[in-house]
Assembly symmetry: C2
Homo-oligomer: 342 residues x 2
Amino acid sequence: MKKKRYSLKDIANSLNVSATTVSFVLSGKGKEKGISDGLIQKITDFAKKIDYKPNQVARSLRTGKSKIIVCMVEDISNVFFAKIARLIEDIAYEKGYKVLFCSNENKDEKAKELISLFSDRQVDGYIITPTIGIRDTIKSLMDEEVPVVLFDRYFPDLETNYVVVNNQDSAYNATIHLINNQFKNIALVTTDVEQTSISQRIKGYKEAINEYGYNQCVLSVSYEEKSPENKKKIIRNFFLENPQLDAVLFATNHLTQAGLEVFKKDFPDRMKKLGILTFDDNVFFKIHTPSISAVSQPLKQMAEELMNIVLNSMKKPSRSIPLRQVVFLTELKIRDSSFVVD
Amino acid sequence: MKKKRYSLKDIANSLNVSATTVSFVLSGKGKEKGISDGLIQKITDFAKKIDYKPNQVARSLRTGKSKIIVCMVEDISNVFFAKIARLIEDIAYEKGYKVLFCSNENKDEKAKELISLFSDRQVDGYIITPTIGIRDTIKSLMDEEVPVVLFDRYFPDLETNYVVVNNQDSAYNATIHLINNQFKNIALVTTDVEQTSISQRIKGYKEAINEYGYNQCVLSVSYEEKSPENKKKIIRNFFLENPQLDAVLFATNHLTQAGLEVFKKDFPDRMKKLGILTFDDNVFFKIHTPSISAVSQPLKQMAEELMNIVLNSMKKPSRSIPLRQVVFLTELKIRDSSFVVD
DNA sequence: TTTTAAATCTAAATCGATTTAGTAGATTAG
DNA sequence: CTAATCTACTAAATCGATTTAGATTTAAAA
């Protein structure tokens, strides 16, 4: 019952030619290697007839290439990452690559472990949302001349490829937008991760607040806060303790989720008057009541750029390929939540 | 600069022992193969010192195992699939497996192509959300004794492992719940895919409607409807043409998303009185206004069961392992959207 | 006719681990 | 004192493709 898989050698034996010849022909190098047209035809036809598929593992062992790209995100179940993952997947498959997705949960240990897991699998390239503590791991990957692109954040003191957005300006603009809409007590709810993305968002917020001489009010929720209940409790207390707040900028979509849950449950009336703005747009913010204004990242373009960079870095000689550092602009999607309701 | 990777042979040469011995020791078979304690110690220590990592590709080539599992879902960017993907990922990594995720978009061609892509990569097992037309492909995978579990849906005329939920009862109960809450004109918005999951949901809905002698009113939106705009237009027209409708059951979360967008934009007042119930719960339905009642699937348990089945099927002799067909019960999360507002 | 060149094709090494089938040498048994 | 049995290890084949470095054969040039 168990269908036999054909190997190169099977073809070679059946046709009474050498494995070398078959390999040349099937890898399209027949002409170049001076195999006669007749034989090329014969081998090609036979291979098609028996539906021959080269064993990729054997091929990888020999060539050192696997046609597999690793995409390590913070959390694949987060809408933001899931969306871009899908875009990356589509491009990769189109180009003949497969993608191994994994989530590092923003934990250095997990991130390092994952990279080490892949390093013995001759993965062709990495797209990584790095955690703060894996600078050196990334550096050694690069020293080994493995294609790497960072994504969403980067290391200011390490020259790498990266694709990010203009976080500081985006946060600044978002805050200014709230200010222009008459909000005066604007909070920033952020996480405690010391990523460039987050710290730039904080900077942008502070810059805008200071420019208008308003009060800064920042809540930093630990990313490690495992129980969502606890996360919500922290946000709830923050808003209870700061009744003066009339607007809030959320630095990541998972905080927004928690925040909206809290608002809905505990301060439904307050929410109606609260200015709300979030990073990372998605459909649900659009259909929320009130619809939530959001800083939207150009996911499609980012995915394309990420793949461009990885695929490009794979060309030899890798040393000669200049690093690419791409900063995309975000778009401020203005919706109901950032207008004052009287 | 480029750091050299050590191989088994490097260790063997450095210690003046054979590669065989090193392999035995490092694979933990030292004692069993009668290698002396001293040598075991020496090899283990040395391997640790140089941070030896066996080349997984070479290992795969020899053993035919890759420690890679493929998880093919409908669309990894869909919250439902993204969530379960993450759960699967966690379990897999814990057990030493990696997961290749891919999306088949409910297209037979894409699904087949993907499976064929993986088949030459000695993947150890498959978790698949099958499309309707890949029954035979699944069958041949099984004939080749490759571990396969279907998920979310299955083929009634093919004996396979699968993990699903009681779709018909869930839809029935959901509909009855709406009926019990005084709704009388309940629509079902579903897709045109002829999957067991969907057809069972349709059956459950019809069963409940018929039981009460109400009118069936089903909208089937083509899954292929590429533009979300078009999808929304179809839903909009449906509700315009059926002003009698006072409630709706959405058969999948992406339809619900589209539906809620339409309601918010075009019938905000009507939405307030409309009974809404959806399959596939997520946080956003909870924080939506009104909060959306939902049929919630036990994702964690499902992921665990899926992994159990794949890992188990990998044990030899595979023929002797009985197929597992698991049907989980859903939970009806009752929220605001399924109550009549006066 | 010999030499050179061109056209075709192939043997064998290689990638790095696993595994089968042994081999020495020490020990014990008869 | 020889044979049988252990103990501790290893040579070489293997997985399946790629690739280097030739080997034939034939045709053209000298």
